[in-house]
Structures are given as C-alpha cells and as structure tokens.
Subunit: 326 residues, 2 copies
C-alpha cells in the first residue's frame, strides 16, 4: 500500500511542528512535504524512522511554483496552516491580511481545481471570525451569525465562504475549522501565555519569589486549547470530516487570564502581581469567548484531553529548558 | 456656500451616467470628479450649465495615484460604483474578483483614513450577496443570513464586512447598499433585458411580426428596479443615510423573465416565442429573488416610482434611436 501523502503549508510554525509530532505518534509511515517561506527552526531528522519529510521554500502567492510543487508531490491530504494571522498588523495593513489569507487560499484551491487531484484540504480558520459576541451567545456554535471586527477576521470569513462555494460548485474536498486560542510547548513568545511564562521565569531565575509583570486586562476570559489536542483534531478531520463543514476546535471552557498568571506563578514558585498597562488593553475586545466542540465530538468523538494545568507545566518546562528541546 | 463635491468611481458606466443625470435634475450646482479606467462614452458637456464635471483616468489599484487625486479634489461625497461585477467571470478568475472589488475598496478606504477627510462614501453592493434563498425567506431583508454562492458574491460580502469594521473602528463614514438587478436606458446589451430588446427589435426591424429568440430559463423571477430610481436612492443615502447601515435597493416586486419578454414584444409589435438554450441556463440559480425596501423607505421615505412597463418602453425607445441619445 502506498504511504499516505501529506502536504503541510506553513509547516515551519508552531502548529506544523506539533502536527508532525502527531503523525509520528500514529506509528505509521507517511510521506510529508512541508512548505513555508522559511525553513523549520526545529530538527525534522528526529522523525526520520517513520516520517519521510521533505521541505520546500514556497511563496504561496507564486501560483505557478505552487502548482509545480503540488503536481509533483501529488498529496492526498493538505493541512493548510499558512496564514498571516496578526490581528494587530491587519489594522495597519488590511490589504496584506487579504493577500496573505484570501489570495493564497485562492491560489491553493485554483491549483487543485486545475490539477483535478483527489485531495482533501483542511482549511484552518479562527475563532476571531465570530467577532463581537454577547454572553448569551456562549458557548459559540458553528451556525452562529458572524460579526468579524478586524480586517484579519474578515479575511478569514472570506476564506471560509470561498471554501464553501468551491465545495458546492467545483466539488473540491475542503473541510474547515474555527480554531480557538491554542497554547503549548514551542509557542512563540510574542503570544500572551508564553510571554507571561518568560517574564515569570525571569523573576524566578533572578532568585526572587515575588515580582510584578505588566499585562493587559487579565479579567477577560478565553478558551485556551492545547495545541496537541488541536493537531489531533486536524488529523481526525482530514481522515473523517465532512467536506464543506465547519468545526470549532476549542476546549469548551473559559479561563480568565488571571488564573493562567497565578498557575504559572505557582509552577515557577513566584508570587506574581500584575499591573495593567493601558497600552496592552484592546478596547474592543470581547469580555468572554468560549466555544462549543459539540459538533466535532458528535461526528468524530474528538474532545480535548489535556488539562490546562498540564499544558502550562509542559510550557514552563520547555521554556526553562527542562525538556531539552527548547 | 461652497458647491457640493462628488467623486464618482466607475463613473463611465451606465449607473454613473444616470447619477450625473440625477444630480443635474436637482437644479443645484455641483463639482464632480469622475474616475474610471476608461473615459465616458457619453457626452458630459450637456450638463455643463449646472454640473462642473472633470474626468480622470485612474486605476483604483494604484493607491498612490488615488491618494493624489482624492487629496487634490477633496470630495465631500464618494459614490463608489467601480466594481468587477461579472459573476460568470468570477468563476473563471476568482482572484480577479477579489482584487477588483475588495482590494480597490481597501485602497479607497485606506486613502480616506490616511487623509482624514470628512467624506461620506456610498459603497454599492449587490443582491448576489444573499446567495441561496428559499421562497420562505422572501422578500429578502438586510438582516438575513448571507449565503454567497459565487466568488463575486463572496468578494462583495467581504467588502461589506470590511466597511462595517472601518466604520466601527476608524469612524469612517460609509453607507452600504445591496442593489438588485437594475435596468434602464443606456444599459449594455450584454445584460439580459437589453439583449432581449435588441433581438426583438431586430425581428421587428426586419419587417416580421412574429419570431423566436433563444433564452435561458424565463420562468425565474427577479426583482428589477429602474436605474433612475436606484440613483435617486443613492443620492438620498449620501445625503441622509446612516453610517455603517446596509440598505436594499429594489422594487419589492418579482417579475418572471417571461413577462418582460412579452411586454417587449408588445412594445415592438412582435409576437415572441422563446426557445430555451441550455447553455444560457445557470444550474445553481435561485428560482425567485425579491427584495424588501422597507428599511430605506422607513428611514428616508425612498420608494421606487417608475413602473416597469415605462422602464421597458424607455429602453426600447432608447435602443431604437427614438430618444436621440443612443
């Protein structure tokens, strides 16, 4: 039997790395082509006994190149992670958000249509698509009315609507997610949770048992889901999801940022005080965002299994170098 | 008092011409700058006693040029008609639909944000945004769930969502429409109603009183609204609409295409038989599309006033050269 062939766009990022891990743990043999603008900063040779991984630098805006690469690799599955996902940047340069989300998706789907490959795509979207939500709307479900409030979110909603059009009209095999905030080892320190950990670790490593960090509003509540649960959901959706359907990937549980800060403090042995820096507070932010994973659970029996305390403890271990991988 | 300054994008088209007519009929003095990729094919000097009209060739994708033009003209009102509005073409080249709708809108709004002009924009959208509709959804209202079914429609929905984001976040003054099928004198013969008229006029001019034309499915029902009613709505919305709000512009009444064919036949003195050409039938088309204009009527007292029989008779007169202008 031929090995399953996976193409991963945006492969060099945090989620790409965890998806490789996930495939590795399946104990099967896979052929994988990762594409990204930059090479992975992690070592892919650790997977070599089960995963055959090639990497190719591709700008997804270069449609001819993308077509060449896909035609020669002939993937059976595409995990489309590539995205320009900064909300903040999208306010400054909305056109870049469109080009680097909607237009790359149009290139990818255009190539698949042209090549007529029997290939399934998982198009990863964002909980940002829900936009303004009221507490009576919680937990957010996939059939809710979307009210995107940033150019990035609008670009994501466009990508989702285009995917539906292409499934219905061209018979493309595309499955969609709205993924909530994911956290886990190896996440970039520009994101909120790793940035808390780094600063609290700094306090601890300077020998103090008490200290202060500047934060935004830590009373807001978010649905944080472990990236390792997320990539398992992506794998299951690629294998068994329904074309044209949208699935929330979330924990189903809201956590105030303040609980995360306390827990990190506990893990690092630091009493943490927070001081609100108004520059970090986003005025139009929702108070509370919580998703429902009922749909994917009903269809595929997926549910998140990693407790948030374990996620944080693994992240602290990873960032303090205790797991030897960071 | 300074004259009101209007910038019209996509000014050289059918709707632009009628909007100039509408301004002319107001009996006030206006300063107008029309921009388009090509110069108007109609004579603007007929308006010279009341309208000061300049024209400028501008590609709206050239943001620097657009910025120059807007900075120097300093419009108080912008009627944003420019669009790449072929649904059929959007299936072949979805990326062009995005570039020529969403991206030009991002350029226009980006310039306004940069220049901080006190300027109101009317962003013209399309009934295509509603997408798949069921008969129980009729008449379509603005708060309905959108299910766009073509790349063109998705691009239009994106433009609308972006406009809302910019109104809420940057305080831009943008009003939105979803305009239904408009018809009227000077419409391009690639559109369905003028194409019927041209072919029926040909039969009549060849001396026959009976003849056949090939059509798509003439049992489908559409909401046709006279372009002269439409531009009056645009004027009223620019003067008195509410920023961030979306308004249907429609007749509120469904007409089967077959009624239009019979009426044109009557006007031309031809008994018309139709023969369905399967190439003209669009498989995913809605059976029936009818809008509600309750919202704009409640807020601004606008309603369509031109009977459809008069619209058709004016179009026939125009296309047979009887009004001297075509």
């Amino acid at each position: 039997m031929e090995k399953k062939r996976f193409l991963i766009t945006g492969c060099s990022g945090f989620v790409g790395r965890h998806f490789l891990n996930c495939l590795y743990e399946k104990k099967e043999q896979y052929d994988i082509l990762g594409i990204d603008m930059k090479a992975p900063a992690f070592d892919v040779s650790v997977y070599a006994d089960r995963l055959h991984i090639d990497f190719c630098k591709v700008n997804l805006l270069d449609r001819d190149r993308l077509c060449e690469v896909i035609e020669s690799f002939r993937p059976r599955y595409i995990l489309h992670l590539a995205s320009f996902s900064s909300v903040a940047y999208s306010w400054q340069h909305p056109e870049d958000s469109f080009v680097n989300n909607t237009n790359i998706f149009l290139n990818l789907t255009g190539v698949l249509k042209e090549l007529k490959l029997p290939c399934r795509v998982l198009s990863v979207g964002s909980s940002e698509e829900y936009g303004n939500v009221q507490s009576e709307d919680l937990p957010l479900r996939e059939n809710m009315h979307l009210q995107p409030v940033s150019p990035y979110a609008v670009a994501r909603v466009s990508q989702e609507m285009l995917a539906k059009v292409f499934v219905d009209s061209f018979g493309l095999d595309i499955i969609l997610t709205r993924s909530f905030n994911h956290i886990g080892p190896w996440q970039d320190e520009r994101f909120v949770v790793p940035s808390f950990i780094r600063r609290i670790l700094n306090i601890s490593q300077s020998g103090c048992t008490e200290g202060e960090i500047e934060t935004g509003d830590t009373t807001i509540v978010r649905d944080f889901v472990d990236v390792r649960d997320v990539v398992e959901a992506y794998y299951m959706l690629l294998m068994h999801g329904t074309a044209g359907e949208i699935y929330n990937i979330c924990s189903g549980r809201g956590l105030p940022l303040s609980d995360i800060v306390s827990q990190i403090g506990k893990l690092c042995g630091v009493r943490v005080h927070t001081k609100v820096n108004p520059d970090f507070v986003r005025p139009s932010d929702n108070r509370e965002v919580i998703g429902s994973y009922d749909k994917i659970h009903a269809e595929l029996l997926w549910k998140p299994v990693i407790p948030w305390e374990k996620t944080l403890s693994d992240m602290v271990a990873c960032m303090s170098g205790q797991d030897g991988s960071n």
